[in-house]
Each structure stands twice: as structure tokens, then as C-alpha cells.
């Protein structure tokens, strides 16, 4: 039964991921991506990682994608079409994916590592919280600091935007680099 669900959700997730990167319209891509996320969430659920499954839906499929769609719509229709991929990049990508897939296949076949069964408690909110506040407490704290930095940065850059917008109206506030901007591109 579990095997059936795994293959079902897995196949759908891969197909929708492929559709995400092959659609030319960003909005369509975004919807396929949401669909992919939902399927991945379902995969997590079948692995009894319920908390992760819920987080996947709430954060990725929900918050981030909504934000993404919002920005895409906001930018307007005329900027939406993506360019055709560079064939070289495409080829390298296909090769890399092939290599990884092949490696993983061999790995799974060889069965070198046995992860074992998990208990019914595994993956519940309580179990995850316990882990976060014991083994991974430091990682948890570090993440907290990381978010603080991100916030400080966001405030700093946002305020700068406001200042910068005002400054561009006055000649004195023009970009003050020692040389022209054109040189940036010479790398």
C-alpha cells in the first residue's frame, strides 16, 4: 500500500517538476511548482514525517509561492516570457542529473545502508520539538540569530531604498563610486 503511494506521488512530483522548468509562462510554472510541492509533502506524510509535510505545504506551497506569484503578477505580463535555455547548459544539466540518478540507483540497489524502521512517535511535532530543544538546541539558537541578522539586513536595505529613491531626484545623491558603472560588467 505504502509502495503504491510512494510511486504515485513520486511520479507526479517528478512530472510536475519537469513541467515547472519547461513551461515558458512563469505563472504556469509557478502553479506546477506548487503542485510539485504538494506531492513532495505527501511523500513526507507517507514517511510519517507529518510535521515536515505540514511545513512543506504551509511555507513552500503556501507562503513562498504566494509571494512569488504576487511578485510575478506585479511585474506585469510583458516581462514574463522566459528565454530558451542555452543548449550547452541544458546538456550539462542533463548529464549531471543522469550521473546523480545513476549513482543513486546503484546505491539503492546495493543496499549499502539500512535505515531501519521508525516507531509511531517518529516525525510527530512532539518528537521534532524534543529533538530541536535537546540535540539540536545550538542549531536552533543559531537559526534564531540568523533570522535576526536577516531582519537587520532587511531593515537596513529597505531604508536605504527609501533614501536612495529620494537621492536619485537630487543630483548630489547620484551613485558615488570612484569610477563608472560600466566597468562592473568587464569581468
Amino acid at each position: 500500500m505504502q509502495g503504491l503511494f510512494f510511486y504515485l506521488f513520486g511520479t507526479v512530483a517528478v512530472i510536475s517538476a519537469l513541467l515547472t522548468i519547461t513551461r515558458r509562462d512563469p505563472v504556469t510554472s509557478a502553479f506546477w511548482l506548487i503542485f510539485c510541492f504538494l506531492n513532495v509533502a505527501a511523500l513526507f506524510a507517507t514517511l510519517s514525517a507529518h510535521l515536515i509535510a505540514v511545513l512543506q505545504i504551509l511555507i513552500y506551497a503556501g507562503a513562498i509561492m504566494v509571494f512569488f506569484l504576487f511578485v510575478t503578477m506585479f511585474l506585469g505580463k510583458e516581462k514574463r516570457s522566459a528565454e530558451r535555455p542555452n543548449p550547452v547548459v541544458f546538456g550539462v544539466g542533463v548529464l549531471t542529473v543522469g550521473a546523480i540518478a545513476g549513482g543513486l540507483m546503484r546505491l539503492v540497489r546495493s543496499g549499502s545502508h539500512d535505515f531501519g524502521e521508525v516507531g509511531p512517535e517518529h516525525g510527530t511535532i512532539e518528537a521534532v520539538s524534543r529533538l530541536l530543544l535537546s540535540n539540536y538546541l545550538f542549531a536552533f539558537e543559531l537559526t534564531g540569530l540568523l533570522l535576526t541578522v536577516a531582519m537587520v539586513g532587511a531593515v537596513l536595505l529597505a531604508r536605504r531604498e527609501a533614501k536612495g529613491a529620494r537621492a536619485t531626484r537630487t543630483p548630489a545623491g547620484a551613485p558615488s563610486g570612484p569610477a563608472g558603472v560600466e566597468e562592473v560588467a568587464d569581468a
Binding site: 542549531a139 535576526t148 537587520v152 551613485p175 563610486g177 569610477a179
Partner: protein
């Protein structure tokens, strides 16, 4: 598994820096961003306390603390001191920098907070013993760096630099995370020790190679190794010069620390004769040797064509990563000791060179090489010290840079990697050419203006402080070498 107070004793310096970050933010808020002395003082005092704690309590053996997530040992201690030193110097150097001050010094407080956070993140990077911490600490440093790169207000180039930095960083982080997940899949462990235990079967094969390459992408981005280096010149040029000085030294060194610990604990085993050997038959040292060769060659070739001092130093810093990777790939304690030695020396000389750029910023006509014309006659002391840093970067005696390079080449030679050593010395010759372009401008070209340039007193003092070890370590370097050797003993002895 659980936390004890003895952990705190080992983790004191890091905890102080984390606290310093919060206090800087608070101090800036309380004074409403008007009194920059408060966050500045907080950072200096915090760094000093942290430094004292670290010096008072050097680890005598390897301690895995905080739920085995980080390891405090001699190796961590070495980098801890280095990062605290870098933070202290760059904080001082930024105080009188016009770029950081801006016109109204409005955001200076945040700068000090970010510097504290960066130091904290770098220290944790050097101590991570678990791929969870690896990813998190790397991310902490990266995110802080993004903000610092975009720090110069009103500057279009600073913003562009920050954006490039973020885009490259995000991609490489994602790739690295995927690589780390492969490690977990292969071994079922997140700790480096666990990964080593899981890999000793030697069946990693293709998947292990891919995992290593992907992790290398994340680290390679941090240390700006080819082909993950494209952001470097733009960011060094676009970011304020004090920030560029930090980037050229701090995160790069932290990347090396992280890489050494990860590769040498998780992927290398110590056989009974005390020599290091690969766990698996995946020949990652070869891959890294090629990266090393490509990095030094491309970095130097690109540096030749630069006319901007900052871009030149940026490309040269890429080349230096190539030299240092040479000591990393030889799988020997001598090679690693050479890398540690070089990192220390590299930090001093590269910050010194950037400090000259900071000191001259807005005081000479620009930051092209030609703008430094006649400096040797207008500011003899500054020019002489710049020249000292330049020959140290080239690797000529009697400077610390020569000794560093000598140990790297010796390590490569000892391991029989002659092709890499030959490439390395030829690159040194190439680098002489472009470093001497700056020297030529300073000494051989008559100045357009006469009279002194007029520099901040603080910058002059700092320059001397950096120049002295550059010269002294070139003549007598045993203490540093022994410190580097000793720092590695716990890392490699434990494995």
C-alpha cells in the same frame, strides 16, 4: 547529548561574540543610531573579551560540545584567534573609513553589529562537526556577507555587487545542501565522525563523488575557487573597501577551516603509520588539485589585465586560494600546516594591502593603478608598506609570504605533486608582474600633484601594526609554524 556548564567554558569566546552582536543591535537602537561610539565600543570590548577568554582557556584536548554539534580543539583555537584578530583590525580600520561612515554616519552602528555576527559565524564554521552546523554556519556567514556587500548607500555598484553575491551564493548553497543530503543518504549520519564510519565500507562510488563535488561547490564559492569565483572581483570592487578587506580574509579563511575539518575528518582516515589515506576510492584530491591549478592560473591571468587596484587584489586573492589548495590536496599533516601558516600570513598581508586602499580612498584621484603614481615620494611610509605587502603577496624573501609559499611548495614537493608545484612557482613569477605594476606606479612614475596626501593617523598606526609581522615572520617564523603544527595535532590525531 545534554548541555552542561563545562560546555560554556569551551564555548565562551563564541558566546561572547554572539552576545556582542545582540548588544550592538540593541546599543544602536537605544541611541537611535546617533552615537556610533556605542556599537563600536561594544564590538571592540566584546572582541577583546572574547580574545582574552580564548587565550586564557586554550583547549588542551578535543571537546565535542553542544550535543556533539561543534568541536573545540586546537584547530578551532587557531582559527578563533585569527578571526577575532581580523574582526578587531577591520573594526578599527572601518572607524575612519569614509565609505562606511557615509555622509551622515547613519548606519555605522549596524556595520559593527554585522561584523560581530560575521566573526561569530566564522568561528562556528571552523568548529562545525556536523553537516547541520556546516550548512547553518556557512549560511550565517553568507547572509551577513550579503548585507555587508550592499552596505554602501547611494552606491549603485555596491547594490549590484550585493545582488550578484546573493544570486551566486543562493545557487551554490542549494547545490551544497543537496550534496550534504546525499552524504546523509549514503551514511545515515550527520556528524563528520558518523559519516566517516558510514563510508569506511568504501561503496560510495559515483554518488559519493557527486556529493563531494556538490559540497565543494558550496565551499568553493565561499573561498572563491575557480569555477565559483565570478562574484569575487565585482563584490570586492563594489563593496566598501573595509568590507572588501574583511571578505578577502575572513570568510575565505573560514571556508578553508570548514573544508579542512570536513574533508579531513569525514573523508580521510589515519592509518597506523600516521599517514593519511582516502577512505574510499573516490579520488577527490585529484579533482581539487585540478581546481587548485585552474584557480591560481586563471586568477593570475585575469589579474594581469586589471587596471583597478581593487580588482587586481580581488583576482590575486583568487590566485592565492589556488596556492593554498595545493597544501590541501596532498593529504599530509605538513600540507595542512602549510595551509594554516599561509592563511595566517595571507590574512595579514591582504588586509594590509586593502588597508592602503582604504586609507587612500577619496584622498587620491581614484582607485586605478595610475592614481597611485608618485606615492612613493608623496607618502614614503605608506608606499613602503604597500610595497612590503606586495612582495609578501608575490612571495619574495624576507617576508612572511615567502615562508608561507615555501611551505606550500615544500608540501607539494614532498608528496611528489611536482606538476602542481611547478605551476605554482610559475604563477608566482606571473604575479610579480602585476604586483610590480603598482610598485612601478608608486615609485617610477612622477606624481601629478606634489605634497603629502594626508592620511588618517589611525590608518598609519594600523598599517605599521600589520607591516611588522609581515617582515618579522619572514625572518623568524618558528613560533607560528609550531602553533600551526600543534593546532592540527588534535584534529588529525583524533582521526
Amino acid at each position: 547529548m545534554n548541555f552542561t556548564w563545562s560546555d560554556a567554558a569551551y564555548f565562551g569566546p563564541e558566546a561572547v561574540m554572539g552576545l556582542t552582536f545582540l548588544l550592538c543591535v540593541l546599543g544602536d537602537l537605544v541611541t537611535r543610531g546617533r552615537r556610533h561610539v556605542v556599537p563600536f565600543g561594544t564590538l571592540l570590548v566584546g572582541t577583546a573579551i572574547s580574545l582574552v577568554l580564548a587565550l586564557l582557556h586554550p583547549p588542551v584536548s578535543s571537546h565535542a560540545i553542544l550535543g556533539q554539534m561543534v568541536v573545540v580543539d586546537g584547530f578551532a583555537h587557531f582559527f578563533r584567534l585569527l578571526f577575532l584578530g581580523i574582526t578587531f583590525v577591520t573594526a578599527l580600520l572601518s572607524w575612519s573609513s569614509r565609505e562606511i561612515m557615509g555622509r551622515d554616519r547613519e548606519h555605522q552602528g549596524e556595520f559593527y553589529a554585522l561584523a560581530a555576527m560575521l566573526c561569530f559565524g566564522m568561528m562556528v564554521m571552523a568548529e562545525s562537526a556536523d553537516i547541520v552546523m556546516l550548512a547553518l554556519s556557512l549560511e550565517a556567514v553568507s547572509i551577513t556577507s550579503y548585507i555587508l556587500a550592499g552596505f554602501a548607500r547611494f552606491s549603485f555598484r555596491s547594490s549590484e555587487a550585493a545582488l550578484k553575491y546573493v544570486l551566486w551564493g543562493a545557487v551554490s548553497s542549494a547545490v551544497m545542501l543537496y550534496g550534504l543530503s546525499l552524504f546523509y543518504g549514503l551514511t545515515g549520519a550527520t556528524s563528520y565522525e558518523g559519516i566517516r564510519a558510514g563510508l569506511s565500507g568504501g561503496q560510495g562510488g559515483m554518488a559519493l563523488l557527486v556529493a563531494i563535488l556538490f559540497v565543494m561547490a558550496g565551499i568553493g564559492y565561499k573561498i572563491s575557487a575557480v569555477p565559483f569565483h565570478f562574484w569575487t572581483p565585482d563584490v570586492y570592487e563594489g563593496a566598501p573597501a573595509p568590507v572588501a578587506a574583511i571578505f578577502a580574509s575572513g570568510p575565505k579563511i573560514a571556508g578553508f577551516a570548514l573544508m579542512i575539518r570536513f574533508f579531513y575528518v569525514a573523508l580521510v582516515q589515519d592509518d597506523s603509520q600516521g599517514t593519511l589515506a582516502l577512505l574510499d576510492d573516490v579520488q577527490w584530491p585529484w579533482v581539487l588539485a585540478i581546481i587548485s591549478a585552474a584557480t591560481m592560473t586563471l586568477g593570475n591571468m585575469a589579474a594581469i589585465r586589471q587596471n583597478s587596484v581593487r580588482r587586481l587584489l580581488a583576482y590575486s586573492s583568487i590566485a592565492h586560494v589556488g596556492y593554498m589548495l595545493m597544501g590541501f590536496v596532498v593529504l599530509s599533516a605538513n600540507g595542512l600546516a602549510a595551509v594554516l601558516f599561509y592563511l595566517f600570513v595571507y590574512a595579514i598581508m591582504t588586509i594590509g594591502a586593502f588597508l592602503v586602499v582604504v586609507a587612500l580612498n577619496n584622498r587620491v584621484s581614484g582607485e586605478e593603478i595610475d592614481d597611485y603614481a608618485g606615492l612613493g615620494f608623496r607618502e614614503p611610509l605608506v608606499a613602503a608598506m604597500m610595497f612590503l605587502f606586495l612582495i609578501s603577496l608575490t612571495g619574495l624573501p624576507p617576508t612572511a609570504g615567502f615562508i608561507g609559499k615555501f611551505y606550500l611548495f615544500a608540501a607539494a614537493g614532498e608528496a611528489g605533486l611536482w606538476w602542481l608545484a611547478i605551476l605554482g612557482v610559475l604563477n608566482s613569477v606571473v604575479s610579480l608582474y602585476y604586483y610590480m605594476r603598482i610598485a612601478r606606479a608608486m615609485y617610477f612614475t612622477p606624481p601629478e600633484l606634489s605634497g603629502r596626501v594626508g592620511l588618517a593617523q589611525a590608518h598609519l598606526i594600523l598599517l605599521v601594526v600589520l607591516a611588522v609581522p609581515t617582515l618579522v615572520l619572514g625572518v623568524f617564523w618558528s613560533p607560528l609554524k609550531e602553533f600551526a603544527d600543534q593546532s592540527l595535532r588534535m584534529l588529525l590525531g583524533g582521526g
